[in-house]
């Protein structure tokens, strides 16, 4: 969904895919918090074609992220607003996701 180059965090995919056999770590809460300052990644998530339903993925992702925030609800509302704009033409999908991230 994004990458870090030096100190800077980018909310788009890196020019090269990750190295094969690279180690995978869980993000620390601080990193999650830093990354989720911007909701640009939602666009990537919604537009990827995956075997699992996008709605489920987006909702799960946001639920996870919200746990690092003290005010979970405020975070989810802000994310919901972003989704409402992204999914302006598809109200049913928006409704499905909102149903899944309800605080």
């Amino acid at each position: 969904m994004g990458h870090r180059q030096g100190d800077k965090l980018h909310h788009y995919l890196p020019p090269k895919p990750a190295r094969i056999h690279g180690f995978v770590y869980l993000c620390s809460p601080e990193e999650v918090k830093e990354f989720s300052q911007s909701f640009d990644f939602l666009n990537i998530l919604i537009n990827t074609r995956l075997p699992v339903a996008t709605d489920e993925l987006v909702a799960a992702c946001l639920r996870q992220m919200s746990q690092v925030y003290e005010d979970r609800r405020a975070f989810l509302v802000a994310a919901g607003k972003e989704l409402a704009i992204l999914l302006s033409g598809n109200f049913n999908q928006l409704k499905a996701i909102l149903g899944r991230i309800k605080a």
Binding site: L76, V77, G80, K81, A84, S88, G89, F91, K102, A103
Partner: protein, 540 residues
């Protein structure tokens, strides 16, 4: 966010003629918006000052309107507010503030363009409103406050009295209170002398509010500057009004034009009005009414009428009309005193004259007296103005004549004949203007309406009345929505010459002890004024 600059949203579309659309931020609730409130728009180069003229709701996806979301869930409701569903307001920009040199020198300028896309829209702060409507000073009079604000809206009275003005509104909406305020303003600032034809005797000594509470009127507040004239001494005495003069009018002062005006109220035919002129010529100006009424049935009268080419039925019609006039108790065969002379004497001293009609609230009496007196005052003013022009002396002090039920004088049938029609059209040049009070503005001649400088209108709900009041104003359809939504009391829309842009006000308080105190200028300002006057005279 502080109250001073509350952000509302951004401009999304619009045009100069139709106004701009503003999309509200999710933080601004549609329900807090109200038509008539002021906003500022921060354009790239200039600030725009405008008024909310419409509020509407929008959705991003039409499906939402078909299958409404479950807003009972606060989370969903909060997410959707301002994103999928949003409020829009329609703003009519009226003025630009600041920016170029012209606005720095002359204050706000009329708007000639629209703000660029996505300019920020804020609720106007107290300071902005003050900048636009000025603060109370020597010629500005505080008339009320804008809706939901504490700032004062001031009328430039010097500009106001230069043209004829109108106060309109349904009955019971506060026309009388507004008029009283305006009269006090004119009196307080001394921009003009007032002559009030007070049909219901409520401007001179005291009036009553809707709750039947007594309120002081002009004479009680400014005893030395107001003279109360009365047509009905008895009624004035009963109401314990100290009157300065009792007006009596002689038959010899009534001229054919006066009868022409009364055609409708006296139910006269066109032929009868023509006959009046003939009889006037026949019997002479001094005693034509008496002579006509004294004509007896007989051969002689018949011969006279045949000679004058007056049909018998016409004569009867006219006679009936004249009898009605003769029954008015304040009419005498010969008046002992000349009321016009007295009125002018007072006006010359800068004393305002209120003419009470007492019990004679009948429209015949009102039209007759108002027209008769005004015509003579008008000719006097005309003479003086011409003299002043010729001799290069000071022109006469501006005079404002207040008339009620104006549609009776100024309807399209008679406005070309009455003196009031003439004044409304051209008397500005002679320093005489009208303050017209009416509840059916649609009855007033279009030509007269179009000449009015400033119009103050309370609630009107008849479409024709609204149309005639707003005729020729830019942004008419927007103002229409504002006007028809005024509250039925204490609110008024002002637009025209004396204010930089249309404004909805909550009328200044009138009737409490504190309010009276504020009207009367303090001694210090009086002394200062006098001192300035003395200095001026010293140098003359």
């Amino acid at each position: 966010m502080n109250e001073e600059t509350k952000r509302l949203g951004i401009v999304t579309s619009g045009s100069l003629t139709k106004g701009v659309e503003v999309r509200l931020d999710s933080s601004a609730s549609v329900e807090d918006m109200a038509v008539g409130r002021y906003v500022t728009i921060e354009g790239e180069k200039q600030r725009f000052f405008g008024m909310i003229t419409d509020v509407s709701l929008g959705v991003i996806d039409q499906k939402l309107t078909l299958t409404p979301p479950d807003v009972s869930d606060p989370f969903v409701a909060e997410v959707l507010a301002g994103t999928s569903t949003y409020g829009t307001i329609h703003v009519s920009p009226y003025l630009t503030i600041g920016g170029d040199v012209a606005s720095l020198l002359e204050g706000a300028q009329p708007v000639k363009t629209v703000p660029s896309h996505f300019s920020t829209v804020n609720l106007a702060s107290q300071r902005d409103v003050e900048l636009v409507f000025g603060s109370e000073d020597e010629k500005r009079f505080y008339i009320g406050t804008p809706l939901d604000m504490e700032t004062k809206v001031c009328l430039d009275l010097e500009e106001l009295v230069k043209r004829s003005n109108g106060i309109f509104g349904k009955s019971g909406t506060g026309k009388t209170f507004l008029t009283r305020l305006l009269l006090i303003g004119i009196l307080q600032k001394g921009t003009a002398a007032n002559l009030v034809f007070d049909m219901h005797s409520e401007y001179g000594w005291e009036g009553r509010s809707e709750e039947r509470r007594k309120v002081k009127a002009l004479k009680q507040l400014f005893p030395s500057k107001v003279a109360v004239f009365t047509l009905d001494e008895e009624s004035s005495r009963r109401r314990r009004v100290s009157t300065d003069f009792v007006v009596r009018i002689g038959y010899d002062e009534i001229e054919p034009e006066d009868i022409g005006l009364l055609r409708q109220t006296l139910n006269l035919t066109e032929a009868s009005v023509q006959a009046v002129y003939q009889l006037y010529r026949e019997f002479g100006g001094k005693r034509w009414i008496e002579a006509t009424l004294e004509l007896e049935e007989g051969e002689e009268t018949k011969q006279l009428l045949t000679r004058l080419n007056i049909h018998d039925s016409t004569y009867r019609n006219l006679r009936r009309g004249l009898e009605t006039i003769r029954r008015l108790p304040f009419l005498l065969p010969h008046a002992p005193d000349n009321p016009v002379k007295h009125i002018l004497e007072y006006l010359d001293q800068g004393i305002n004259v209120v003419l009470e009609f007492g019990r004679y609230t009948d429209i015949t009496a009102y039209i007759l007296v108002a027209n008769l007196l005004t015509r003579r005052i008008h000719s006097q003013y005309r003479e003086r103005m011409e003299k002043a022009l010729g001799e290069d002396t000071a022109p006469p002090h501006p005079l404002v004549i207040t008339i009620e039920e104006a549609h009776k004088f100024l309807n399209s049938e008679v406005s070309s004949q009455t003196i009031f029609g003439t004044i409304a059209r051209e008397m500005r040049k002679y320093n005489v203007t009208l303050l017209v009070i009416d509840q059916r503005p649609s009855g007033i001649d279009d030509e007269v309406m179009s000449q009015m400088g400033t119009k103050i209108t309370c609630l009107l709900d008849n479409d024709r009345d609204i149309d005639s009041v707003l005729a020729g104003v830019s942004g008419k359809s927007e103002l229409k929505s504002v006007l028809s939504r005024l509250e039925s009391r204490q609110q008024a829309l002002i637009f025209g010459h004396a204010v930089p842009m249309p404004v909805v006000i909550r009328t200044r308080e009138y009737g409490s002890a504190q309010s009276y105190k504020e009207f009367i200028p303090s001694r210090e300002t009086e002394i200062k004024k006098q001192a300035e006057k003395d200095i001026e005279e010293l140098w003359e």
